[in-house]
Amino acid sequence: MATKKADKVMTLTEAASLVRDGDTVALQGMGTQMSPLALVRELIRAGKRDLTIVMIVGGIGLDWLIAAGCVRRVIAIIVNLDEFGMAHAFRRAVEAGEVVMEEYSEHQLLSRLLAGAYGLPFLVTRSGLGTDLIALHPETTRIIACPFTGQEVVACRALVPDVAILHAHRADRYGNVQFFPKPIWLDADVFPRAAKKVIVTVEEIIENEEIRRTPIHTGIPYFKVDAVVEVPYGAHPCSLYPFYAFDRALFQEYATASRTVEGTRAFLDRYIYGPTTHAEYLQRVGGAEMLLRIRKWE
């Protein structure tokens, strides 16, 4: 386990090498919000294969990974592009049998992750009773009787991802990660606790003394973090509230392009395989003018 003073700062490329082919990767992202998409683009360029991606709400990063052939299995409650509609690469891949969707209700998936976070074999919920969701995966959800009352509940088996990847507001070199406000969505809260390894990209790396002056904002402590990467606008085209909004134009461009396989390929070539650095990527998606627009939440 990490020491207090281990310097965990690395490059995107180095961080991506911590993710191995076949890993179960918990990927933060809530609709159009807070997702480590610079790192996702790096994973795609690194040609990762056979990943199982865990997201509560699967979004654009997952659809890119599927389109690039990195994904074998998805664990989520829904996959779409929020108000921009269907996640087409996901839809095509599942319909073709190339990717397996392991679907849960939200509280079933949360229960699996919390069991993982606590090191328990399972936790129970009432969520999903009466639906077809329980019988989908007898290896991970089963109806059992409460030993005290006999009431039927759904047992949700622990899920321990190999690695969690997140984007946050700032951190120090040792991996004390701060959020403004502190984690609200389940992924930033539970993924780092449940996963074996944690990689966090941040807008800014700050001094340890600044963390000690403002511990009220710290959401993940250094001892749970393995890698810190400084990537300003690292969530783009997703938002990082309250720093910047999601990039409506790029979401719309992908939603339209991804209706066809060719369009999806062209989008990936232009925005993911083309730029070799994050700075080049930001130039290509609109540069300073676009950044000003998203900072103003327009």
Binding site: M30, G31, T32, Q33, V57, G58, A76, I77, I78, V79, N80, D82, E83, G85, M86, A87, F90, R91, V94, E95, G97, M101, E103, Y104, S105, E106, H107, Q108, L110, T125, R126, S127, G128, L129, G130, T131, D132, L133, L136, Q151, E152, P181, P183, I184, W185, L186, D189, V190, S239, Y241, P242, F246, W297
Partner: protein
């Protein structure tokens, strides 16, 4: 007696009808891509239900955001709230029943109010892979009073039996839901053609009122199962002039609620 509006559209009628279901003591949270419910919640709070608590975007407790601008889970929805609700807290309130009301829609709805937003066809190799169950997989099983809305009242949406049960409605009808220990359930279905409820004994979907200009024959033709038809079928209560003014000028001047009529594939 409030003045009845003469000039209104079907999206406005749906919002007003839904708004009138909310009570001042309700605590309501909204889901993703839910312009009609969000507009209805804001309208209810501005009219007959000032005490209603809205957990905006599932996070902002008692938020007072600007007019609707898009993306009903966005942080812009949380403005002027009293608390950002951590989602693990939210789920405890949902599980315990503190939060009791939820609105949802889906690709298929059957005669007992079960909803599918997962797949058309077989699960493993679906003909159409839909986005997924998301919150409906929880809310149907966790005793919520559920209001279902859809802007596509067609035989493709209203089916005899859903291909996949993403949301537990009244299951196989009768007391099936109760026997499983699930309370409450679907209350009302509000569509672009009519309003429907559920007959108390059989839990079979039943016509309640028709929107202006819509006939019984049309509704039956657009429904993929035999609807229960009551003896008297009133017209859907029209909006008041004040409700329409609030909706157009204060709550949703950009007309985000109309986005739900784009004919895009159903999303949760």
């Amino acid at each position: 007696m409030a003045e009845i509006a003469r000039d209104y559209t079907v999206d406005e009628l749906m919002v007003v009808t839904l708004a009138r279901q909310f009570r001042s003591e309700d605590i309501v949270l909204n889901g993703t891509v839910s312009f009609i419910p969000v507009a209805a919640i804001m309208l209810a709070r501005a009219t007959h239900a000032p005490g209603l608590t809205w957990v905006a975007g599932a996070v902002g407790v008692d938020a007072y955001p600007e007019p609707l601008s898009g993306n009903t889970l966005d942080p812009t929805m949380w403005r002027r709230c009293v608390m950002y609700l951590p989602q693990e807290h939210m789920w405890s309130y949902v599980h315990r029943g503190v939060l009791e009301t939820f609105c949802l829609r889906g690709a298929q709805i059957d005669k007992y109010g079960n909803v599918n937003n997962t797949v058309i066809g077989e699960y493993a190799r679906p003909r159409v892979r839909l986005p997924g169950s998301a919150g409906m997989g929880d809310m149907g099983s966790l005793d919520k009073r559920i209001f279902i809305w859809t802007t596509t009242h067609t035989p493709r949406t209203f089916v005899e039996r859903v291909d996949f049960r993403s949301c537990a409605g009244y299951l196989d009808g009768g007391d099936a839901r109760e026997r499983l220990g699930l309370k409450n359930g679907p209350q009302l279905v509000i569509t672009n053609l009519c309003v429907m409820d559920f007959e108390p004994e059989s839990k079979h979907m039943r016509l309640k009122s028709l929107h202006p200009g819509v006939t019984l024959e049309e509704v039956q033709a657009q429904t993929g199962f035999r609807l229960l038809i009551p003896k008297a079928i009133p017209p859907t209560e029209p909006p008041t002039v004040e409700e329409i003014r609030l909706l157009r000028e204060v709550i949703d001047p950009r007309g985000m609620r109309k986005l739900e009529f784009r004919g895009a594939p159903a999303r949760a």
